[in-house]
């Protein structure tokens, strides 16, 4: 569990690493175009009947081509996909227990992977502030945009904080009992929640200090 936490932290930082260092024709495309295209691909993928094998392979080919042009390391993309795979697994499991599910679970899994890959590609080739700008231009309510922006901003602070707490805990954990670990983890999660809400208060104060209404 703790290992997964640490890995998650590293990979999230990697995303930003790529924003900063990587350049490609895909990175340079207008954000609005990328988001629009992603939406079209996702909606079409979800709606298309599973029998259209050729169509799905076409989309997959397009995504792979984009991934190559974007120069994102394949291993990095694979790891991101793996990190999101619980969602796919969940969808597939639910599907498998439905009357017709045993026939098409593979198709559903393929569809989900295509959608996730689309999202991963867009989010890793578009700076977050540009995504926000697009949302603003299509009139997403300002309150929602502020919430998303703050969430994105403090995700990193929270993750760093979780990681610091994990390290501090790990350096004082001498016993190996599993139950003890779970209990400690519960404390960490609780602490993180308290710290997050206290930080939220301080952030709000700081915003007010600069005239937020």
């Amino acid at each position: 569990m703790a290992g997964a936490q640490a890995k998650g932290l590293v990979s999230v930082h990697l995303i930003h690493h790529f924003h900063g260092r990587h350049e490609s024709p895909i990175h340079r495309l207008p954000a609005a175009l990328k988001l629009g295209l992603a939406l079209v691909i996702i909606v079409a993928t979800v709606l298309a009947p599973i029998q259209w094998r050729g169509w799905f392979l076409g989309v997959a080919g397009l995504l792979v081509l984009m991934a190559i042009v974007s120069r994102l390391p394949p291993f990095f993309l694979f790891r991101r996909l793996l990190a999101l795979s619980p969602f796919v697994l969940g969808v597939v499991l639910v599907n498998a227990y439905q009357p017709a599910g045993r026939v098409n679970w593979l198709g559903v899994a393929f569809k989900s992977v295509l959608c996730l890959l689309t999202v991963i590609l867009v989010s890793n080739t578009t700076p977050f502030s540009q995504i926000l700008r697009v949302l603003k231009s299509i009139r997403v309510p300002a309150l929602l945009i502020t919430t998303i922006a703050l969430m994105h901003r403090y995700l990193f602070v929270l993750m760093d904080e979780a990681e610091r707490m994990r390290r501090a805990r790990a350096s004082r954990t001498f016993t190996r009992g599993r139950r003890f670990h779970w209990r400690a983890l519960a404390t960490v999660v609780g602490q993180l929640f308290i710290r997050a809400s206290e930080r939220a208060e301080r952030i709000y104060d700081a915003m007010c200090a600069r005239g937020w209404k």
Binding site: R153, Y154, V157, R210, G211
Partner: protein, 249 residues
């Protein structure tokens, strides 16, 4: 001379009943640079949050805190926050926008300035703190020292008459500290600095106020106070080494 900050018998109690401020009074004249000293938990940060009306939660406008002669009251809040720039201790609390540019622009935008004026202020503030050209950088990718300076720029962009800093040099490396001090020296605003960095106090401030357990225990010229070893030790401070080398006369 007119008073920039006037505090009379200010009291504050936290929700859990802890008395944080027990009747604090002092007055700071316009243009002064004053250090607010005191051990951890003495009420420094709590006091600072009163200066632009973030605390108490329910502003009574009783006149315990006056900024430029005006009591901090609910209907005056906007005017007060225009005058008082508060730089928070943890830069991560203050920098909440995705990019440096947006963060520094936040204050001026809240002031209702036009786009051109906002952009001009952002550029000026970033240049002032030595971060010209940093506008597009992501705030969470800056070093701690850079974050500090962006925080300061975000407040300077609002052009406040009074600048309040909560431990501005904590966690900075010596060079960062030196540069930040030089920066502060160039800012003409009235300054109140809560800090444990006694070298900074000696170099920048003319007057110091010592707070302990929510009360003012000393208020006077920096050299006089910091040289009083017994006073310093009693209140969790010390006579800074720099005073062994500096001669006030």
């Amino acid at each position: 001379m007119n008073a920039a900050i006037e505090i009379t018998n200010l009291k504050y109690r936290y929700h859990d009943g802890t008395e944080a401020l027990r009747g604090v009074s002092f007055c700071i004249t316009s243009g002064e640079c004053v250090a607010l000293l005191g051990p951890n938990g003495s009420g420094k940060s709590t006091l600072l949050l009163h200066l632009n009306g973030i605390l108490p939660e329910k502003l009574s406008g009783d006149g315990a805190v006056k900024i430029l002669g005006e009591p901090v009251a609910p209907e005056k809040l906007e005017a007060v926050r225009r005058q008082v720039g508060l730089v928070f201790q943890d830069p991560d609390d203050q920098l909440f926008c995705p990019t440096v540019q947006e963060d520094v622009a936040f204050g001026p935008q809240q002031l209702g300035l036009g786009d051109a004026e906002v952009a001009a202020r952002v550029q000026k503030a970033l240049a002032q703190v030595g971060l010209a050209g940093f506008g597009h950088r992501a705030t969470h990718h800056l070093s701690h020292g850079e974050k500090r300076r962006v925080c300061l720029a975000g407040v300077l962009a609002c052009e406040p008459a009074i600048l309040i800093l909560d431990e501005p040099t904590s966690d900075l490396d010596p060079r960062g500290r030196r540069e930040f001090k030089a920066l502060l020296r160039q800012i003409p605003a009235t300054k109140l600095i809560a800090t444990h960095d006694l070298e900074l106090v000696v170099e920048l401030c003319s007057r110091a106020i010592v707070l302990d357990r929510g009360s003012v225990v000393a208020d006077g010229p920096v050299f006089e106070l910091l040289n009083d070893e017994q006073l310093m030790l009693e209140h969790g401070l010390e006579r800074p080494h720099i005073l062994w080398h500096v001669h006030p006369h």
